[in-house]
Symmetry: C2
Amino acid sequence: MATESTDPGSVRPGGRTARVRAAVLRAAGDALAEGGLARLDLADVARRAEVGRTTVYRRWGSPTQLIADLLADMAEQSLPRTETGTLLGDLRANAQLVRRTLADPRQGALFKAVIAAATCDDQTAAALHRFYEVRVAEWQPCVRQAVERGELPADTDPREVVRAVSAPLYYRLLTSDAPLDEATADRAAEAAVTAARAGVFAKPAD
Amino acid sequence: MATESTDPGSVRPGGRTARVRAAVLRAAGDALAEGGLARLDLADVARRAEVGRTTVYRRWGSPTQLIADLLADMAEQSLPRTETGTLLGDLRANAQLVRRTLADPRQGALFKAVIAAATCDDQTAAALHRFYEVRVAEWQPCVRQAVERGELPADTDPREVVRAVSAPLYYRLLTSDAPLDEATADRAAEAAVTAARAGVFAKPAD
């Protein structure tokens, strides 16, 4: 779906069906961010979205399917990558984007809730994995361009470099109460670039 | 508690109270690994542990308190670090230990469950954070020794280096269905060492 906005709750092109979906997914995200997985309830989501309960039950059926659709929507709506002309610049921009998202009270709580939901249900896990595949695919061209510019070894695995940028930020979010500050994000990008330059992220030989 | 074993379910020194705790925590770990947070129930844990239900309710009170005690026990029981004489050797050993734990069906499911539980409850989150502080503290001397040997810059933050080793493995566990293979663990250690040598993990100036 083409859209100018990256906010799942904003007005989008499309008719009533698209508006209902946007309202319901916004409400589901709010409910997850506030109460976590344990308190996600379709009737509550319908009330928050000001949409008929029957519509929500008919279209989404269960909290699991609702979270899977929310993750599909988050992937569709996610921001395009930044191009700065250097690998370190690009990956710093990526790290700061991830940091801002996870440090935002609503978004941080929402990501924690969907990661927790994915540990309990295979369908949700598959939707979560697809979300991260889309995010990694969006950013991997910056690594390919760095290879073309001669900044990185030719056999660098672009996906591993992009994942290396996000990993420390998610690890910090989930395993500590340390703040997700800008220095942490910059360090994640610098560590990934340094290791990539040294050939650590070489693709395994076939 | 001094013990030779690192398995939460093994026989330990101590009397009946310690044996009851060990049996209940083993059962709680099994229940969490099998059914996740949503299906953790004190009566079921008592049945699995062959311990009176009243004992479990009186001593642990709620699933939240039971998970917090399980995490405290996991910290007490966790394996001591390996010393190989080089930073890369030490951190590879750490990465492979984390990898084996997360790739083990029971332990991997248990870690997913406690991470999910921590997103829903502050007391559980505090217990989870303490668990990771203990793990990081256990391994940080290998970074300090590398500084003393001149392998790393003097201002290296040991905790950040140790966290950098674990982060890609947890990120992979939680956001993808890619296998946690030995090459991934080695790469995590190599990336951390390469970045540490380049000064990426310098402590911020006071």
